[in-house]
Symmetry: D2
Subunit: 460 residues, 4 copies
């Protein structure tokens, strides 16, 4: 990690801490206490739990250990808001979180304030470098839960028969630190795009060549990273090509119309089982506008987003999202392409500045590519969709890098114990904080996962 114990580093960390903690509250602004109770699928947690658990993280791994005389807010919270750290304390089953009507939201907010004050106090005391490293980890942890909170609320509101919108399609987010002007013009762009060309659809994606070779992958140790991004290590890559943008909703609708969900030859065996067991016929959040219409012969889908339930016709060029690895893989096979490996992706992204449609844009949904992935020597990264919009499924299984070492103690459970049965995703999404993402960042989910903002970039 990168935190030096000098004054400017502490000042910078303090700022980052405050921004992050405040944004968490800002994200909850459109939500009622009732909304913050909902846990609508196995992957999700209630928003109130996210608020409490992120405070718990600071209390459990930093304040209890590094702040002399720290007063624990409530002893019960120590195990109630533990997520999965077996070596720290017992914890309630995840599925029970929907029953945590107590503590009330007010108490959770008081818990956060209590923790905030204590962390500020600790930062004032020129603390141990390990404390600073852990605060930085806590900030990154909270950023992850900001993303999860929005991901979970999208599912919660989709599950609600009334299908409420988190934000109306035409409004800015209006929360501190979020640029509502940017959003408004982008949203305008989405709405107008369909009329900008004869049929309104983007041309086929271009593919850029990458030479490969014996490259280095993984975090360079400048700045923060998670343990699973390290150590930097060599990998050999054959020459490869990457699409200059993500697959769009219109393109994915063509896959559906071509019988994509009914042709076993396009699917991995486990994927075909998942299609049939779950009755998948389209990405999550796609519903048929007209009850009873044969969906494959029509364009008549509606897509539920944090901005409401929008017609496919207005989202033709928006990247398809909320597809499983199985769907991404089947789509690639149908298109005669493949998914990139995580190392191919990282080599392409490593030279790019982090920029794109991330949480900070306030858009809260993927946006059409407005350009192309440039030659990687003269990057204009905002046009490549490498960062933001959707997490990109790679064909790499989530495993430890050669020489991987988890953090010591309970924090070693953060990433390492999940290195089985999951696939790597890269690049962040429209609900990832910009400060949180980087080229070496590895996200990971089981291949059947669809509740995430997960999309498709083709390779060959």
């Amino acid at each position: 990690m990168s935190v030096a114990s000098d004054c400017s580093a502490i000042t910078s960390l303090t700022g980052r801490f405050r921004t992050t903690r405040q944004r968490m509250l800002a994200l909850c602004e459109p939500l009622t206490a009732e909304d913050m109770m909902v846990q609508s699928c196995a992957e999700a947690s209630p928003a109130k739990w996210h608020l409490a658990h992120t405070a718990w993280f600071f209390e459990s791994f930093i304040l209890r250990e590094f702040l002399p005389g720290y007063h624990i807010f409530d002893r019960d919270f120590s195990w109630v808001f533990n997520s999965y750290y077996q070596s720290f304390a017992a914890f309630p089953e995840k599925r029970l979180r929907a029953s945590f009507s107590r503590p009330a939201l007010d108490q959770v907010l008081a818990y956060r304030e209590h923790v905030d004050e204590a962390i500020e106090k600790l930062l004032d005391q020129n603390p141990d470098p390990e404390a600073l490293r852990r605060i930085e980890l806590g900030v990154n942890h909270e950023e992850q839960h900001q993303e999860l909170l929005l991901t979970d609320i999208l599912h919660a509101f989709f599950t609600n028969p009334l299908r409420p919108a988190y934000r109306l399609a035409t409004s800015g987010l209006g929360a501190p630190g979020l640029d509502s002007e940017t959003w408004k013009s982008t949203a305008q762009g989405i709405t107008n795009q369909a009329s900008s060309s004869p049929n309104g659809k983007l041309p086929s994606p271009r593919y850029l060549n990458f030479p490969g070779g014996l490259l280095e992958s993984g975090h360079t140790d400048s700045g923060f990273s998670f343990d699973n991004e390290r150590p930097r290590h060599r990998t050999w890559l054959d020459p490869y090509r990457l699409a200059t943008r993500l697959v769009t909703c219109a393109e994915f609708a063509a896959f559906i119309a071509d019988g994509g969900y009914r042709r076993p030859e396009l699917w991995l065996s486990a994927g075909w089982d998942a299609v049939n067991a779950n009755g998948w016929r389209a990405p999550l959040y796609w519903t048929e506008a007209t009850e009873g219409a044969a969906p494959e012969s029509s364009n008549d889908w509606r897509i539920f987003t944090l901005r409401g339930n929008l017609p496919l016709s207005s989202l033709q060029n928006v990247p398809v999202s909320h597809v499983s690895y199985f769907e991404a893989d089947a789509y690639a096979r149908w298109a005669g392409r493949r998914l990139p490996t995580e190392f191919e992706w990282e080599a392409a992204a490593e030279t790019q500045a982090v920029s794109g449609n991330l949480l900070d844009s306030g858009l809260l949904m993927p946006a059409p590519a407005v350009g192309i992935l440039p030659n990687h020597e003269s990057a204009q990264p905002s046009e490549s969709q490498l960062f933001g919009d959707c997490w990109e499924w790679t064909s790499s299984a989530y495993l430890g890098y050669p020489g991987f070492k988890p953090l010591a103690g309970s924090l070693g459970e953060y990433n390492g114990k999940f290195m089985s049965g999951q696939m790597v995703l890269r690049g962040g999404s429209c609900v990832t904080p910009a400060a949180h993402i980087r080229a070496s960042y590895r996200n990971f989910f089981p291949p059947e996962t669809r509740w995430q903002f997960s999309g498709i970039r083709l390779a060959s």
Copy 2:
């Protein structure tokens, strides 16, 4: 049904309607909007859903049909708050009710007010007798949901790791229409009982003889009843005996201590499967006070109630509650007795006035028997526990009486379609409104159900 369309009948119905609707709100007073979101088991619904569904019932079956010019509050609610009336409209899966953060509690309360005003208006118009019959049905329906609301909240609070109490053990209910003085003295009684005799336990129950014969069972058609209580019909009963009180917690603890949950010969085959599949070792809501103590060799249980988590030692003479039919049946076999049939029960109760520890006492938990079931000619019913405390499992399967006819139309789905795989319970519980219960009343649940206030009376 019994409602005549004369003025006094309407006045009486109006009063009953108001009382019932107000009590529903009073019961929610100790709950936050967050509490009212929790749905912690398959049988339960969130409290807010109970509030909304009972309004939906009046709107759907009465106002839409009988009040000219009635303005539907919100078209979406027509299906969102339908429970299971297939022939009325589609409805969301029951398990999704926990995601109904919208409509917000305020909107649901406004919905209730809207419906209240419309019903009052209808009652002012000297309506069709069928409308009056349905309003009476709606009142009874709401009373059922009052009981369910409390039953569900008990489960919700037990699921919460913090185990909050709905009401503290020493406080009155403080809600309109509930007699907090009665509660206080009774609660005092519970606390004091242990010291009133050498070991503080009740002596073995006495058994009263009943002659049986060719009797009539079922509702007499004077006053309201559900369709499943009709028609009154003849049944033959051999002479039988009934215990004068319910089985107590101390008695059930002796069953546990004698290895009751480990002896297959005491159990029905399906019951033994349930014991093993669910790991049952005690009634629902019983937990071991001392982690790791062998529970069978100790008295060291705690029992979670709406009044908090209380030690078994202070509840020795309180009727055991929250047992399944399988546990009731196994206990009876262990005790060398049997459960009564619903007709045996009804013949004993029919001559008694309805009185006992019902919702109106405000106790909200079963109370010790303070007397005995009297000779049924000179009834002092409050001492028999026939009404209130716990629903009593009978050995009768829930089936239609000879000549049973469900109500016409959608309301025919109210009771009849559940006549499969369930057992009859009789007598109401400590959360049943006194106005709601009667000797012919038939409750019914699957034999593995434990979330109900369900207890045991022995017969032989």
Copy 3:
């Protein structure tokens, strides 16, 4: 029970024992050792297991206890072939029976011979009356397993993609003690019936009146009975009517064609759940002759039987079989009738001689009614279908009669512990030995069961 310990009684029991044991082998004649390994659903057991378990019953409950010096055939068999007697010994999970390739069939046959010789030896010794009672029980037990063996083989052969026939449609059974001439003429009748009238279908069933009253039900204690048929006791019956024959395949096809499986209002709630969870669209063993044809608009079903896969067109008047209680109940509701109670059925059957299309006819499938249920004073019972053809679902839950006492010891587990969640069926089927059935006989299965030869008689 009825066995007196005099010589003629012993002689008669010996004859019954021999006949029963030999018939078990005769039933296995069309089967290979491989066929006898198959266990194709949760209800079924392999044929070889039936052979072994019935020997085990005699060894465990009679020979070990009553034959001095009896040599146990193989100690391992004592628990391997125990079915469910918890108090006797441990036993393997039922689903594992398909793995019992060892002991080989030859060893099982040797086990049977060993047991046969020992029972004969015991019978020669003028044994204890209790031994005789248990041998009689063992014979009845084996008859039950003969029926189960054929029921299970039907399911096994239906599961096999090759759909082999147990017996060809045009052949006699050819087994000792079975009348193949009877079968041939009856089978001829089935084939010819369609041409015997304009549309070949039976007219609507007639209904006979029964006066009801305060009747006695249950076994009279003359001859053998199971514990669950006793004690004889009084029941009150209102006047009722019973159809003179069972519902036919053609009639049930009309229910299907009328959308019976798609109309929730016709079904019990648990039944509707079962329809949807299992995708039921017709009785078990009905398949569409033409792949892709809309089954409801056609008569184009094939029905798999022990005689092969036959077209509905040749089985129009044959009683529908292999329906669940839920389907029987829904059919009755659709037809504007109801199912009879077990007491109504018994009162009608009690005056009839036991006669009908039972196992002894060798037909092995239900046959068309050739007459009507006569006035119950002048019975010609063979024409009523009360006995044989199909077990008849009643609307009575399977519970103990007033004063019911299970047998002592392990044998008490025979019937009593299943008195939960099951419905009573009456009358035996085309695979029930004639010597086994009687008017008081109670069979019982969970309401979703379809693998049995279970059919429908209407009442009103």
Copy 4:
């Protein structure tokens, strides 16, 4: 692939074909027709099905296409014995294979003869090179099923409560082409080993250094390989160390005794879930010799093998087998090591001749290491256990190599569609034919799989 269409190549292939087909029958010699019906877990198939499916493979992919005038043995078999080739034909659900009592074993053997004759006829006709390539594939396919047949029979016999042995511990296999002398001396070695040193246990394994570097992995295209071993491609390996032998039963028993199955910190998250969901406390086929003894404090395990149920005390130095990936990974973490990647393993094995305890030894169970893994320049491979004994779990997920292309047509479903959620195993086992295995061979199973002969080699 490698088959040239010259005479000597055809002669050699003919010999390989005959040997393989005959060995399949030899493996079935100890089995009865009843044994060959058993399918005791989801992974397994009945032995008869293996016999039939391997014939089906030759018929479906070779004879139908390449032998003019070929007479299909039985049209029904075309879909009944299809395993999973969706694009070839429909197929029955895998779990139904236990119901295939018909066709009888005799018919399946006749099917095999019919196919054998036709293949010999085709080989006589100097066929198309593609036909030869597919015959070679068919031979390799049949070798895979030989291994599966033995793996499945081990599970079948373990499931049988009688626990029969496939071969007695002291007998040779006595089947054509299997060297029973080798087996006898090896078996003797197992029995005697315990007395060869003070406590009879092997010393800790040595670790050999490998330099790594930019190496090539994958099949070299000389000789047969499966599509998933190609193309050969470059990978970068950091220097690494490999244990000279597999982990033994004694070593794994020490892991158990140290609480290995009760310490979540040793396990992957999904592994810990599997431990708890399945109640794992030891490898599959380990049972406690003494009922009720605390297994962790004793050496008192018995291990079921194809040679019977043997005490751990006589298998101390035998490699532990039938562990899941999760158990292998947890053991490695406990031992302070890790599992090798598939590329590390292949680089070590590539220079070694294929030799070891494979099917051809006739031992049918893992054997103790009798030497050490040599310096890879001067290999004595029989002492390294790299080939044979147990498949070795690697830490590599099963994915396509860069540029992977599945076979064309239906055969493309052979390997590629399983590239999700599985881990790679290397090296073959004691039931793998020696002719079948090679350094580039990739086996693959889901991480929870235990029915395979799967063991552990440590790396660091």
